[in-house]
Amino acid sequence: MPVSMPAMPTSSSAAPSASAAPAAADRPTPGQASRFLAQATFGPTRAEIERVVAIGYGRWIDEQRAAPPSQTHFDWLVATGRNTEAFKGNGINAPLEATLWRKFIAAPDQLRTRAAFAFSEIFVINTLSISASWPMFGGAAFMDTLAAHSLGNFRDMLEAVTRSLQMGCMLTYRGSRKEDVKTGRSPDENYAREVMQLFTIGLYELNPDGTLKLRDGKAVETYTNDDVRGLAKVFTGWDLAGPETDPECQRRPMALNPANHSMSEKRFLGKVVAPGTGGVESLRIALDTLCAHPNVGPFIGTQLIQRLVTSNPSPAYVGRVAAVFADNGKGQRGDLGAVLRAVLLDRDARQPDLESPTWGKVREPIVRFAAWARAFGATSRNGKWEMPDTTDSTVRLGQSPLKAPSVFNFFRPRFTPPNTVIAQMGLVAPEFQITDETSVAGYLNFLAIYVDRGWEDLQTDYAAEVALADDTQALLRHIVLLLAGDAFSTATTQVIANAVAEIPAQRKLDRVRAAITLVAATPEYLVQK
């Protein structure tokens, strides 16, 4: 067994010198660079692979953190003329889907975009739940909010999410009113419960490495229903800020209506907010209390690792990431840029045992499709990116961004497929919650469509691949590098190359399509490693 390489640096305190070549330990092979990019972006491209090889992982991350944010979804919708009365109602979402795919596939600030998508599966909204005008702009604004903070600070992200009209609608506390003793009316408890359970601390107290903290051999619950009821008072009085005269109403944070805010005592998580404390101050105290909870680092850290790298990280890996969440090396808590750097540069992520039967994760369908487009240079031929809903599970992905069925996302972080060896071993496999006898066929059916002729205006001519088609060995090495990096067996590469070679040499494009289809269909690719 080879000696493990030393851990990659996990501190952002040492600024890399622009002129220095990366240290030998940080100079990846193209295959390693590709695998890294599959974790850090929506998928490798030839240019990004070359970039990572040239400057190393750490500098690539630093570049991405410093990259200017690309055009927001909201601004793209305005620029393409969607800020009109025609788009005011609910149910018109196609342009939102267009801009989401546009950035997943083509945004140059890929780390920020990929991280925002990961956070959209923690802070989950569905555009259909947005009840104010121009809900499509609401979906755009929400994803923009996540992107704005995905390399920033967790506390800021949580506040922006909490104040967003979109989350206020999704979890129904928009317009929630203080308790009324006469009628028995209570504040809406929805957000109060889920902000703890899903967005910050989870259900049970955790050790810093993400394992359960036990007391007398039992898990310790993080909150009680009384905490939910106390916290619910904090979220009273918040509502849409200003009139619904244009899509900007979807971008403005909710405003406090003091008349509807509960001024009674608020008790939650051991904190007492005195009677008479107003809404803005109560919110600050609540969010500070939540963000300071020791669970947040391991809880959020585990989910980021799961979304980007592997479904079942070792406690040591979680512990290292959580330590960076707690302190980024400069005494700052909740530095998400540093946390993502820690997730991606950790020795477990960079030097995994690629032969381990439990390492890795199922690539979720949205990422598979975007990865194909990025790998093979697919782009919108007319600049419209008009790709409709991909929710259908018989001929599409069974998944479409911002279309999760509930705040519990498309899949739970602790989902384990029942009655399987995976479950018997106590492992989780979140993406298997949307993997079934229908969806596996649907993915292959959709794959056949887009590999063959692109999809709607998203097209590619496979020029680089056609140029290699005379030599199917070279073609396969190229395709495998782009899709799976160094985590794809030479044996499978070989059998695919041999099979593709049986397609007559003059049908170069068919050879390319067949090769891509075979790689993208095989479980060795579907399980990212």
Binding site: E189, A441, V500
Partner: protein
């Protein structure tokens, strides 16, 4: 250590669970869930799955309609006698249904309720009224997850174990389906179906979901099979030569179905293999079926494919099946009276149409349909909705149902009374285990098996709530 022996070492290490310094979180939680239940005798390894079941020479199916989000029980089975309605209205004036809107769906049970108690179906469930009147629809009142019988004093005084994570969507969905919190590896519908697996000519179709992921249907042997409303889904790439190459097509089939060492790869390939083999069988069988009805809504479309699969039962060689369909949107913290009526219209219409179709197929007495939901909701309003609750009311429909009746008791509508805890949550007095066991008994499970399928059942008086006919008469 060579690569080959290292792989073997790692494979064994992973299987033995020694690859980490601590057990994965899911295992810890699942173990805690298991500890919360009475340890059931483990089924003997390799034992006959049909042990404990009566000989099977007939057909029976259970159909679970899971109302995701937590259905509001008070606006579904609405208090209708004047005194109860007044208390209901007072408790939730913002979201209550007016009494005069309920007269058309007032229920006249065959067995009188205590006092002057009366209920009406929500107007959206009007299509189900004829089935109640004809004795094929029963209402089970106030059922929910319980570890042991629990009084309000027990609850407030923390005197008895409670189900884990009350009021939490995902854990209560798991508890309703598996009697264990999230991370459970089998559901009671699957454990029940395990008992009858040997009777079925095609094991794949023993547990079928037309909705999404269905923990309810996972057994120790049974796995849920997912159909779309159109039936099974063929893989088009395998129906023709891939880019004109039979070699590529054969390789594709091999690659997507081969059993690799990686556990996730193997699981994915097993799902694909099942998809391919099931499609070949099911497409042919369904082509010969006809089911009357429009089945226009998403829930109705799910029930239609269930009806079609029931129609194909003989072709498929099925004797016992459990089906799972789902309807989203019941988490009505907001806009209860804007959203809920539409959901109930869809539910009432779909269930009525389904039962009509089963009548047409001549299997009304052989299929029992029931609703389930992770929890009820608070009696009190939050302004225009209700919050997560606990006990709820559920419907049981079918020709073998002793319908036209209510089962269980509805607590007095008083927040400070013994029937409510935590500011408006109805404390169940019937356990999910008892509700499920009543269905399972009818399905054919013997008394001894019920305790394996429902781990806490022995803690409750009576595993038969009475809403099903004696299975011997079925």
């Amino acid at each position: 250590m060579t690569d080959a022996t290292r792989r073997e070492f790692l494979r064994r290490a992973s299987l033995l669970g020694v690859s980490g310094s601590a057990a994965p979180l899911a295992l810890q939680l699942a173990a805690l869930g298991a500890a919360a239940a009475v340890a059931a005798p483990a089924q003997a390894a390799g034992g006959n799955p049909a042990a404990g079941a009566a000989p099977v020479n007939d057909y029976k199916a259970l159909v679970c309609v899971f109302l995701y989000g937590g259905n509001d029980p008070y606006n579904t089975i609405v208090p209708y006698d004047p005194a109860s309605h007044a208390r209901y209205f007072q408790a939730r004036a913002d979201i209550a249904l007016a009494r005069d809107k309920l007269s058309a769906t007032a229920l006249k049970p065959r067995d009188a309720l205590p006092g002057d108690q009366a209920f009406a179906l929500a107007p959206g469930l009007a299509p189900l009224l004829p089935w109640f009147e004809r004795g094929q629809l029963a209402v089970q009142l106030n059922v929910g997850p319980l570890s042991v019988p629990t009084s309000k004093r027990d609850y407030v005084g923390a005197r008895v174990p409670l189900p884990p994570k009350l009021f939490s969507h995902n854990d209560q969905q798991s508890y309703w389906q598996a009697l264990a919190p999230e991370g459970a590896t089998s559901g009671w519908g699957g454990r029940l179906a395990d008992l009858f697996l040997a009777a079925n000519g095609n094991a794949t179709f023993t547990g079928v979901t037309a909705g999404g992921s269905a923990l309810l249907l996972a057994g120790h042997h049974v796995n849920a099979y997912r159909v779309s409303p159109a039936g099974s889904t063929p893989i088009e790439l395998l129906q023709r030569d891939t880019y004109g190459s039979s070699t590529c097509t054969a390789l594709l089939r091999q690659l997507i179905t081969q059993s690799n060492e990686h556990l996730f790869e193997r699981q994915h390939a097993a799902t694909v293999a099942r998809s391919i083999s099931a499609d070949a069988r099911l497409r042919t069988a369904l082509a010969r079926t006809t089911v009357a009805g429009a089945f226009a809504t998403p829930l109705a479309a799910q029930l239609k494919i269930v009806a079609r699969m029931i129609a194909a039962r003989d072709t498929l060689g099925m004797r016992r099946q459990v089906f799972f369909v789902t309807q989203n949107g019941y988490d009505n913290h907001d806009g209860l009276n804007d959203i809920h009526p539409g959901l109930l219209r869809e539910l009432g219409g779909a269930m009525a149409e389904f039962q009509q179709a089963l009548d047409g197929l001549g299997v009304a007495r052989q299929v029992t349909t029931f609703t389930a939901s992770e929890f009820g909701r608070t009696l009190v309003s939050n302004g225009n909705g209700s919050d997560h609750g606990w006990g709820g009311h559920h419907l049981v429909m079918g020709g073998a149902v002793r319908g036209g009746r209510f089962y269980g008791k509805h607590p007095e509508l008083a927040l400070d009374g013994p029937g409510f805890v935590d500011h408006g949550r109805m404390l169940p007095d019937v356990a999910v285990d008892q509700f499920g066991a009543t269905l399972a008994s009818w399905f054919g499970a013997g008394a001894a098996s019920l305790n394996d399928v429902f781990p806490n059942l022995r803690r409750f008086d009576g595993h038969d709530l009475g809403f099903m006919e004696d299975p011997a008469k079925a």
